[in-house]
């Protein structure tokens, strides 16, 4: 009898331990996903911050450039650089036939002519001399150099030919290939060529959208929250508003995209693909988030503050504007930043209002067509070229970096400035 009881008790204790283990492993699983995730992004993305350059001797032959004696600045601007650019690439292998010369040309980006031109514009004395110039390697060679390209495939399965690899290996052996920090990733706009593509245009697009979103959503949301929390009578209508807000917070984001398309673009005829429309759409989406945060922080201000102000003869509006609202600001601001961080990561509504257009200029105002960082991730992720994979990961790293900074900022505001009422 006693033994039976002990067995039962043991069984129950075992069950207890098992249950505990389930919980622990659930948490472990969730954290494992997070780790794999971050590891994967970083391991594929970090190499995008390096760029491979080929160091190629270029002879600035005045004749080939169609330059006269003592050329002026304008002459240098208009000179023909294509021939010397081509020649310097072809000179890498003196025995190359015509096809091979073409392949040699494709070892660098199509930007190489401009890079040589810039070199000469910086130092006009180079005419007639030979100088080693840094040329951006093509994205495939870039990947080869970083070790991301499987070299053991047969030749017809890869975009780099055996001949190009041979020349490239010679260059590597001679120390004529160098890897440097990839500044152009941050300063270039999008490009069809992976080696030239950068995030500047989408970054500016994101900034403009977020600013528009902030300028619309923050004032409206704070005013609405003040009304609902401090002034609204408790009746059916205000209940209806409240239900509306809570619902909007859970409406799928793509529906807001349809709203932007159907109302902002089709009816108000606002310009397509612009951060202005994107920002307005995002502001409608963040509105409920900010209202809810602002109401919560208004609610957290103890009634004694209001009573004290009222007792000193302040009107209700004065009480609210001079005392309650300033005290609630830290909470409201951190809620706003979190809402903006959500908006910054949003993709689907922006795709619907046309912010997926290929934009190769950096937008200067919210009225210029632009992409945004998450949309850029989507565009690149859909590209077939291998060189874009690391760009996507790098772009994700930049985006995540911003989200982390924004969230930290929200935390700091909350902890530093929020008054604790006890």
């Amino acid at each position: 009898m006693n033994k039976n009881k002990e067995q039962l008790l043991n069984k129950r204790y075992k069950a207890e331990q098992r249950f505990r283990l389930y919980g622990l492993s659930a948490i472990f699983m969730a954290l494992l996903f997070l780790t794999i995730f971050i590891f994967k992004i970083f391991s594929t993305g970090y190499s995008a911050f390096q760029k491979t350059w080929l160091i190629v001797p270029v002879t600035f032959d005045a004749e080939l450039m169609m330059l006269d004696q003592n050329p002026s600045k304008e002459d240098l601007q208009d000179a023909d650089y294509y021939d010397i650019a081509l020649k310097s690439m072809a000179d890498l292998d003196p025995n190359a036939n015509e096809d091979q010369e073409n392949e040699l040309k494709r070892m660098v980006s199509y930007f190489f002519e401009k890079e040589i031109k810039n070199e000469l514009l910086n130092d006009p004395n180079l005419i007639g001399k030979t100088k080693e110039v840094y040329l951006t390697a093509s994205d495939d060679l870039d990947q080869v150099f970083k070790g991301n390209y499987p070299r053991d495939l047969t030749e017809d399965q890869r975009r780099v030919s055996d001949y190009q690899l041979k020349i490239f290996d010679q260059l590597v052996a001679n120390g004529k290939v160098e890897s440097k920090f990839n500044i152009s990733f941050f300063t270039n706009a999008d490009s069809r060529e992976a080696e030239l593509a950068g995030i500047a245009s989408s970054f500016m697009g994101s900034i403009f959208s977020i600013l528009v979103c902030l300028m619309i959503a923050f004032p409206v949301a704070v005013l609405a929250a003040i009304y609902l929390e401090e002034f609204a009578p408790k009746n059916r209508f205000t209940d209806f508003i409240e239900v509306n807000i809570n619902n909007l917070a859970a409406v799928p984001s793509i529906v807001f995209g349809l709203l932007g398309l159907g109302v902002l673009l089709a009816i108000f005829q606002l310009p397509r693909s612009t951060p202005l429309v994107g920002g307005i759409t995002l502001s409608l989406m963040t509105l409920p988030t900010i209202i809810i945060a602002a109401r919560a922080s208004l609610k957290a201000v103890p009634p004694s503050i209001r009573e004290a102000a009222l007792a000193m003869g302040a009107s209700r509006m004065q009480t609210t504007m001079h005392h309650t609202v300033p005290l609630s600001m830290p909470g409201t601001l951190s809620g706003t930043i979190i809402g903006l961080a959500q908006a910054l990561g949003e993709t689907a509504p922006l795709i619907l209002i046309g912010m997926v257009a290929f934009v190769n200029t950096i937008p200067g105002s919210p009225m210029d067509p632009a992409a945004s960082l998450p949309v850029q991730i989507y565009i690149w992720a859909e590209s077939a070229e291998r060189g874009f994979v690391e760009k996507v990961s790098a772009c994700i790293m930049v985006l995540l970096g911003f989200l982390i900074i924004m969230n930290l900022f929200a935390q700091i505001i909350r902890h530093k400035f929020e008054k604790k009422w006890s």
Binding site: R12, E16, Y22, A26, I27, L248, A250, P288, G345, L400
Partner: protein
Amino acid sequence: MNLILFTFIVLLGFTSYYFGRKKAYTIQSTKKRLTALPQFYGYYLAIWCAIPAFIIFSLWAIFEPTIVKLLILSDYSNQGYLDDELNLLYEKSKALSRGQFTGEITPFIEASAEKYLSLRSIAQSSKVVIVLSAIIASVAYAYKRISSNSRTREPVEKFLNAVLFTASLAAILTTVGIVFSLIFQTIDFFKVIPLFDFVFGTHWYPAKAFVRDSSEALDPTMYSDTFGAVPIFAGTFFIAFIAMCVAIPIGLMSGIYLAEYASTKVRQYAKPLIEILAGIPTVVYGFFAALTVGPFLKELGTSMGLEVSAESALAAGGVMGIMIIPFISSLSDDVITSVPQSLRDGSYAMGATKSETIKRVIFPAALPGIVGSILLGVSRAIGETMIVVMASGLAANLTLNPLESTSTITAQIVVILIGDQAFGDPKTQAAFALGMSLFLVTLCLNIVALRVVKKYREKYE
């Protein structure tokens, strides 16, 4: 132009504030008692400056384009043009006046473009004159009127109250805007495609409905068997189901562990770490699913002799489940923590172990809240877009095999609407009809979930 005018009006507002306050100080210096603080006199004047400006600006924005259009088209009124042609003519001359016109320039259009420009400049300058004179008149009137015993605080506060109230209508306006933008296109869609075919049809090939010219669009037979949404609805719920199969066990168990077992220290670190998963943008999950999970599953399947699509429902659903874990874990954590301690104490006093207490006492007590949190998770899974667009197929297969590819409502909306859209084309309208069904489904889920959670909260508060 508008910007300069706007800045000028703002400056005028500040000046009137300053004058109002100054007048109040002058009155005060004559030893008369004021009925409100001096700054209210300033606000009062500033409001008198803002209201006429706002009214005239909005009137102009509403009526100027229509009036200009009427004036321009009156030139052509008795030449027997159709309405559509007139509209086209107007748009052409507008484009030409902005220098964006690329077509053939006829003398007619050129004349209208010039007229358009001159009318616009007349309209702009008259707007400036009217706005400024209206502001000056109203501020001067108000300035004369304020005296020591005029009430300024009450009107100012009433005005502010009205502003606050208007702001709170934004949420309703957004909802109205959503319904408004969806409903017309949806109705137009169902005029061409019978509702029955949409809800019960099993073939979805919107690409087939590519309209080459408008005469084809009028022929409804060409749309038969193209817009049957069953495969899409099935795919949506199927992927959501897979996601919940991942999210519910992991999310619920971590919620329980965090609420009942974890020490404060573990809780302090584990909870925000898990919540990071909710803060990662969905496009990042989509990339992860498409680039890592999909190929991994395919390889795994091939090594086991299974045929797995690289864009399987499993990959999309699984990654979506990871995304939803924190929603369920945080909400159920909150719900479980708010179960009163007395219930736990009662159970412990009867000799129950911790897990028995959780399973038999706390879980039943917290069930409504947990169900609410799961419903919110489902609503999120159904509305999730980017993961599905990037990681799941775009062809709508009717299948229950998680290893094949399926498509969802959100993915189809994106597929149809990416790039240029032609309004009035059934394909575009189909996207809005899908959006409408998505909105309705998630609306129902949200309302039920929010109500359940609210009821539950009230029970223990």
